[in-house]
Structures are given as C-alpha cells and as structure tokens.
C-alpha cells in the first residue's frame, strides 16, 4: 500500500515537473501549441479589469482611445508605437483591430504582448484572419480570450467580434449575428455603441451572405456611432452603405501611424492621426 502510494506520488511529481517543463516556453511542444505562461493568459479579461479600475481620462461621457490594426510581425514598429502612445495624454485604452500575429502562432502573440504590456493604459484586441490560421484560434483564446466580447466604458458599449468569414469557408455563421443582435439590444445606461472587428463588411473577405443582414442589423440600432475595422492596410472613412453609419479602417502598424478617437454625445467623434518616427 505504502509503496504504491509513494509510487503514485512519484509519478504525480514527475507529471507536475513534466507539465512545468512543458509550461516553460523554451521546451515547446509545437509552434502550433495553444500555450501561454500563467501570467500572460487571457489578456482581454485582465485588461478589462484594469480598465474598470482606472479613472476615465475625461469627465462626462467622453471616451478617448487609440486605434491601430495589423501588428503582424512588426515587432520593431510595435515597440516604437508603444513609446509613442505612452507620450499621449489622457488616453483610456488602446484597441488593436486584428491580425495580432502573422502566422497564427502563439509565440508571435507572446512577442506582441511582451511589447504591448509596456503600454501605460490597457490594450484590447479583436481576432484577425491571420490569428485564425492553423491552430491560431486556440492560441488566440489562450493568450487573449473570447473571439466575441463586449464591454461598457464611459457610457459606450464596445462590441468586439470575429468577422473573418473567409477563414470559416463562409459558413454563414461568422460574424455571429444572433450574438451581435443581443449585444446591440442591451442599451441600458448606454449613450452609444462602437463595433470593432477586423474585416470590414465592404471587403471580399467578409461572408457575402452576411453583408446585408449585418449592415441592416447595425442600421436598426441608431445608437451605433462607428464601425471600426482594419485588414485592408490603409485608412478609410466613409459610409459605404449610404445609411448614415460611418465605417472606418485603421492604419496597419507598419505604417507608423495610428488614430486617436475621441467620442462624446451620441454620435460625435474626433479623429486625430499620429505619426511616429523610426527609432531604429
């Protein structure tokens, strides 16, 4: 009995040691593994907790945040971006509109997080098509969190959702319109809603079957002030569906340019463009 329990303990110890070894990022099972060190997991909920705990940058219903997209493999630029954002006064948070990684590998997400964690304010992400490659979706969930989530800050509901329909073979379920409808319907205490996704609905990588239902759903909710995206690697702003809703796409990180968005009232916003120098 005793020797068997000792044996169990020894095997248990070996398993614990083994999982610790597997846990250390050097002893990697596969570049496709969905592993993040304990202190780097689930950044979305950690950053939302930080956001909830910090005092807002402005009084009243004003919210001010940084928007950029496509950090994929631009680690040098990300470092310079962080230095630049840290010099901006009165920012609530930073939003990265998808394509955190280039190859959908967990270690890329770790490299980006290592840089973004030096931001003085919380950062939030939405999943991009590159983050879904291979086992990337699982790696994204481990490093950041849910593919669809929403949060309220300063009277604003931010809805962050997966619109990378092509990565699901246009299966008619991405973006998840039922979930989006529920988030849009919940307007208690909300002055306005902002949607953040990676692929904008006027791009060929958005599920063509869902373009109409998606834009109609947003149209039915007048509190939607802005639709923010990235993916096409250039800044665009306009009303492509001629329905009064402004769709905006962010600069990719490699352009060394980002936006600071200030929102107030129901639909007022100000867009500032910040360029930053190459440090290296």
């Amino acid at each position: 009995m005793r020797s068997s329990s000792q044996h169990v303990r020894r095997v248990g110890g070996a398993l614990v040691a083994g999982s610790w070894l597997m846990g250390c990022s050097l002893l990697e099972s596969s570049p496709n593994q969905a592993y993040a060190p304990a202190d780097e997991q689930y950044q979305t909920s950690r950053n939302l907790a930080r956001l909830a705990a910090q005092p807002p940058s402005h009084h009243g219903d004003t919210v001010r945040f940084v928007l950029v997209g496509d950090s994929q493999r631009f680690y040098d630029e990300t470092e310079d971006f962080v230095a630049s954002v840290n010099q901006q006064p009165r920012i609530d948070f930073v939003a990265i509109a998808g394509d955190i990684s280039d190859f959908g590998l967990g270690r890329e997400m770790h490299w980006i997080h290592r840089r973004l964690q030096k931001l003085h304010v919380p950062y939030l992400t939405v999943i991009g098509n590159h983050d879904e490659l291979g086992n990337g979706r699982a790696a994204y969930q481990k490093h950041f969190g849910p593919l669809n989530y929403s949060f309220v800050y300063q009277g604003t509901r931010f809805i962050c959702l997966d619109t990378n329909g092509r990565e699901y073979g246009f299966n008619g379920r991405v973006p998840d319109l039922e979930w989006l409808g529920q988030q849009l319907a919940d307007t208690t205490g909300i002055a306005r809603t902002v949607v953040i996704s990676h692929v904008p609905p006027n791009d060929a990588d958005f599920d063509p079957k869902l373009v109409q239902p998606y834009t109609q759903l947003l149209r039915r909710h007048p509190q939607v002030a802005l639709h923010l995206g990235a993916h096409i690697h250039r800044f665009t702003a306009g009303q492509p569906f001629h329905d009064g809703l402004t769709y905006l796409t962010a600069y990719p990180l490699k352009k060394r340019r980002y936006h600071v968005l200030t929102l107030w009232g129901q639909r007022y916003f100000r867009l500032e463009t910040i360029s930053y120098a190459k440090v290296r």
Binding site: G18, L26, P31, R73, Y75, W111, G134, G169, R280
Partner: protein, 198 residues
C-alpha cells in the same frame, strides 16, 4: 540512402581530421529507437531510424503528439523527418562517448484539417498565395550536445544516448530576420531526447 551516404562523404571531406579521428562506435547495430520531448515536434514524439555514413548520420522518422490541454482543442499529431549529423564522439572513460556538438535539420507535417499544405489547397481563398507559407509544414534546424553510453557486449540494448537540442523553424527565422528588436534567443526551442540501439 545514397544521398545520405554522399552527405556523409561530403562531411568527411569537409572535416577530414575529425572523420579520421571518428571510429564507428562499436557494438550496436545501425537501427535505433528515439523518444523526444518538446523541440517543436510534439510534447512527446517517438520514432526510429538507421545510421549511415560511419554512424555519423542519423536519419529518422518520428510521430509526435500534443495533448488537448496544450493544443487548446483536439490533440495534434505531427510527423517529422529528421537527420542528425554527429561530427565527432570522443571517448570519456570506458563506456561513455561525448558529442559536444551535433547539428541537423528537420521537416514536419502537422495533421488535421486546421492546417494547410498550401493556402490554395483549401479552396477557401480567392488568389494563389493568399498566404505564402504552409501552416502544416515546418522546416527546422537544430544544434545540441549528446552523451552516449556503450554497455557490455552481452547487454540487450547496448547503446543509449541522451541528447538536448536547441532548434528553430522557418517562420520564427522569418520573424527574426525582419525585426531588430527580436533576439535570436527568443526564437529558440528546447528538445530533450534519448536514443537506444541493440
């Protein structure tokens, strides 16, 4: 096999002194079995191979496994073709051989519908080369030391080696080469393993 023999001959030409100093380690046949943990080819990978070129070249095939907990979903299966070159294995006492440096390359394929050989093979993308790389196939290179124990002739498994490897893969290397703020140490992966032969 011929190509491996040629590679061995080439290696012998490149390192003539080492090749002369190198005598095949006695007592064990050319076949070997391998078990490895980490190194990017599975949480655990098992396989085997056949020694070539005066036992300085070890081509092998391994099958790796990543459990659900680390895969974040269905377990991953990985098939790896790997070759290790052992330029020298000096004796340390009666039974031990130390190879301070082995080098090699590998090619692996991760199984599953999540991974594509080429992006156009999925039929999901509008243009050829929508994604330029393969998410299923990785090419890697490694270096590392090895310690070999050669037992008495009567022993069943006469020869046991333990090894460590620091490796990287094509996509990590591309990331390193396109960034100054990424350090070479950050793209390394550790693998630990053992090989036995009779």
């Amino acid at each position: 096999m011929l190509r491996c023999a040629k590679a061995g001959a080439l290696a012998a030409a490149l390192f003539p002194l080492l090749a002369q100093a190198q005598e095949p380690i006695p007592g064990a046949g050319p076949f070997f079995l391998t078990v490895q943990i980490g190194g990017g080819i599975g949480t655990v990978a098992v396989g085997g191979g056949y020694r070539l070129a005066r036992q300085q070249l070890e081509p092998e095939v391994l099958v790796g496994f990543v459990p659900r907990r680390l895969a974040g979903g269905p377990a991953l299966g990985i098939i790896t073709l790997k070759t290790t070159y052992i330029p020298f294995s000096p004796k340390l006492g009666q039974h031990l051989r130390v190879s301070p440096l082995t080098v090699g390359g590998m090619l692996n394929y991760t199984l599953g519908r999540r991974f594509f050989l080429t992006s156009q093979s999925t039929g999901r993308y509008p243009t050829k080369g929508y994604y330029w790389w393969s998410s299923a196939v990785r090419v890697g290179a490694f270096v590392g030391p090895r310690l070999t124990y050669v037992g008495a002739a009567a022993q069943g498994w006469r020869r046991t080696s333990a090894y460590a490897e620091l490796s990287t893969n094509d996509l990590y290397l591309v990331s390193l080469l396109s960034n100054k703020t990424l350090s070479p140490a950050e793209i390394l992966t550790l693998g630990l393993g053992a090989k036995i032969s009779r």
